[in-house]
């Protein structure tokens, strides 16, 4: 839902970042307002996950220029955990397995950290059990997954559902979902998409990274961005995704080449 007067939640300006000595993000700009759903598409290796990890504060990536403001405040100076407590959520493309740490305890500690960030009191184990059982319904997940170690031995689809469960518990203001639809069967896709739609509201925003129109059939984006070689090459409405589905990414090369030739854009 686009409302020009809605507050800006995330403002990314000319963001550049590298991993080790290799520049990956080469000037990303993006403005996200409350209520909006953005989709980011683009070829493998174009920098989508890097953008999401830089936003979440992964230590392997170094920001070399530009700025990110979250609700008007500098995001890049914050530790990852403070970003999360302030309401930024990253659904991982590859959720991490953590042997020996129970999923239930992990979810409880995370939920309480976020609640502290919102100025709410911590939930005790009983109150948390009630909450988690209610939120399990959103993703139609078996409570048995709570007893297991975080993501350990979960199938690809189960891991993605666990990500959405975390999102449902943490109630983020800005959710960045990196290929949450990959590896899902048709039913799971519907469940996950339903969960995202259920959690999307006028006060929060979602940034969906995806390769597939089938997700955007169920979650209608307000904006679609195409990433290439570390920048956003084009932005349009939901029809841009349909166009990509039809034309593929060949045109990207021509546009990138043109971009490289334009002296104003170089550097």
């Amino acid at each position: 839902m686009i409302r020009p007067d809605a507050p800006v939640l995330l403002e990314i300006r000319d963001l550049t970042a590298r991993v080790e000595d290799q520049p990956i993000l080469k000037g990303v700009s993006l403005t996200i307002r409350a209520g909006e759903i953005h989709a980011v598409m683009g070829r493998n290796g174009s920098g989508k996950s890097t953008l999401s990890k830089v936003l979440a504060g992964h230590p392997a990536y170094t920001v070399t220029g530009g700025s990110v403001h979250y609700r008007g405040e500098d995001l890049l100076g914050l530790e990852p955990e403070l970003r999360a407590r302030a309401g930024l959520f990253l659904g991982f493309q590859y959720p991490v397995e953590i042997p020996g740490v129970s999923n239930l305890e992990f979810l409880r500690v995370a939920t309480n950290a976020r609640r502290a960030g919102k100025g709410e009191e911590e939930l005790d184990t009983f109150a948390f059990e009630d909450l988690v059982r209610e939120r399990l319904l959103v993703v139609q997940m078996d409570p048995a997954f709570l007893e297991r170690s975080v993501n350990e031995g979960f199938s690809g689809g189960e891991k993605k559902r666990n990500e959405i469960l975390q999102m449902a518990l943490l109630e983020p203001l800005v959710a960045v979902l990196d290929e949450t639809d990959s590896g899902l069967d048709i039913d799971a896709l519907r469940i996950v998409a339903g969960g995202v739609n259920h959690l999307a509201g006028p006060d929060n925003a979602t940034l969906l990274i995806t390769h597939y129109q089938r997700l955007l059939d169920v979650i209608t984006p307000d904006y679609v961005h195409v990433m290439a070689a570390g920048r956003i090459l084009r932005t349009g409405g939901k029809e841009l995704a349909l166009e990509l589905e039809e034309r593929g990414y060949d045109w990207v090369d021509a546009e990138l080449a043109a971009l490289e030739r334009t002296p104003a854009e170089v550097g």
Binding site: A56, E81, V96, Q166, L170
Partner: protein, 422 residues
């Protein structure tokens, strides 16, 4: 009886180690208990055995200094506070002198072994596992005044808890245990050995498993900054028997565990799962030995260690598969977590495989906390130090959760990790 010059720990440490042993033996000699004769023999052997030094292969990384810094006297521990006994458990408190069975009604299937039978049996498993001449075993033999010896028949539903707390007194607490499992017998045993002072808990357990018998054995030993633990667990297995040993020790100035297993005719199942922790300037050591003296035996061994501060972790896992032990299937994995640049981890498999038709897998990893795991937790609002704590606990839990259920009352994580475990 103790020479005045040996009565303070610093004096003892500075004195010739031979003097330390002599002082201890003077203290331990005499008595008319059931162990008196074997004690004299062990004392003579000990007096003639030099103290293990860093020049001995088995003690290359393990300095005995924290031990010889102790007062060479026998310890009489005071009664210590304990958690409530869990349903389905029988707790026997070991203090090295009084009879732990006094006033106790043993559950069906358990009975004490005594008299000639005890004399005939004690030491046999030590001999069968090549443990009789080990220095910690001699030290125990030369000082122990009491033995808890039990026979197990049939399936015992009660978990046997054998516990000691050396407390904050000075000296040596020798504990001697013997378990004889008749063919087909099955029992669960949890040992808990604690200390809070400058003392040594010296433990020797002999367990003989008859055909098809099963022993589920846990050993939890959270120590003290100045305390020492020397524990030898000798297990002799007949065919078809199953031994599962789960151990966790840490927090000792010097903590050393030596599980020594022999499958007398092969065709038995042995499982060892261990966790050891070394922080501060502590030494945590495990020297395990598995001997397959017949074909078709199995071993599953997982050894985990955490070293922090300037702690030192040592693991040596010997597995012997002689020619007659065909079709042995043994797997040994050593997983280590290095939490500080000044900590040290030495881990070494020692496989002697002569038989040709065998499967022996082994592996060792040493790693730090994984950045991706830390980041994942942080990205969910969990602060870096709490995330590190969760990962550390996760690493330990894999072993601790395999302890007998009765261990829960002893709060394994908290007892081993302190506030980090909460």
């Amino acid at each position: 009886m103790v020479a005045a010059s040996l009565s303070t720990p610093t004096a003892a440490a500075g004195a010739a180690p031979g003097g330390w042993i002599a002082a201890l033996l003077a203290e331990a000699s005499g008595g008319a208990d059931a162990l008196a004769a074997s004690r004299e023999r062990a004392a003579q052997a000990l007096a003639q055995t030099p103290l293990p030094s860093r020049r001995d292969e088995a003690w290359r990384f393990t300095d005995l200094a924290p031990l010889t810094a102790l007062t060479p006297t026998l310890l009489s521990p005071a009664a210590a506070a304990q958690p409530p006994v869990a349903d389905g458990s029988l707790r026997l408190v070991l203090d090295g002198q009084s009879d732990p069975l006094a006033g106790i009604t043993l559950p069906a299937g358990l009975e004490p072994i005594s008299g000639d039978e005890l004399d005939a049996t004690l030491g046999q498993v030590l001999a069968a596992t090549g443990s009789a001449a080990l220095w910690p075993v001699l030290l125990n033999g030369a000082t122990a005044r009491a033995v808890l010896a039990l026979r197990v028949r049939g399936t015992v539903a009660t978990t046997l808890e054998l516990v000691s707390d050396a407390g904050d007194g000075e000296g040596i607490l020798p504990l001697r245990l013997l378990l004889v499992l008749e063919p087909g017998a099955s029992v669960e045993v949890l040992q808990v050995h604690r200390s809070s002072g400058a003392n040594l808990t010296s433990l020797v357990l002999e367990a003989r498993l008859g055909e098809g018998a099963e022993l589920r054995h846990g050993l939890l030993a959270p120590g003290a900054e100045t305390g020492c633990l020397l524990a030898t667990v000798a297990v002799e297995q007949a065919t078809g028997s199953r031994y599962s040993g789960v151990s966790a020790h840490g927090g000792w100035a010097l903590g050393r565990l030596e599980p020594r297993l022999v499958q007398r005719e092969g065709a038995a199942h042995s499982a060892l799962k261990a966790l050891q922790l070394a922080d501060g300037r502590q030494i945590s050591d495990t020297h395990s030995q598995m001997v397959f003296a017949g074909p078709d035996g199995r071993l599953e061994q997982l050894h985990k260690a955490v070293a922090d501060g300037q702690g030192r972790s040592v693991f040596n896992g010997a597995v012997q598969v002689p020619r007659l032990a065909q079709r042995t299937d043994a797997a040994q994995l050593s997983r280590n977590l290095l939490l500080s640049d000044r900590a040290r981890i030495d881990t070494k498999p020692e496989l002697e495989i002569v038989a040709d038709d065998v499967r022996c897998a082994h592996g060792a990893t040493v790693s730090r906390l994984q950045q991706d795991e830390l980041f994942y937790l942080q990205s969910r609002g969990i602060a870096a130090d709490q995330a590190a704590r969760l990962l550390l606990r996760g690493f330990c839990e894999e072993v601790l959760q395999a302890l007998p259920a009765a261990a829960v009352a002893w709060q394994p994580l908290v007892s081993l990790l302190g506030k980090e475990g909460r």
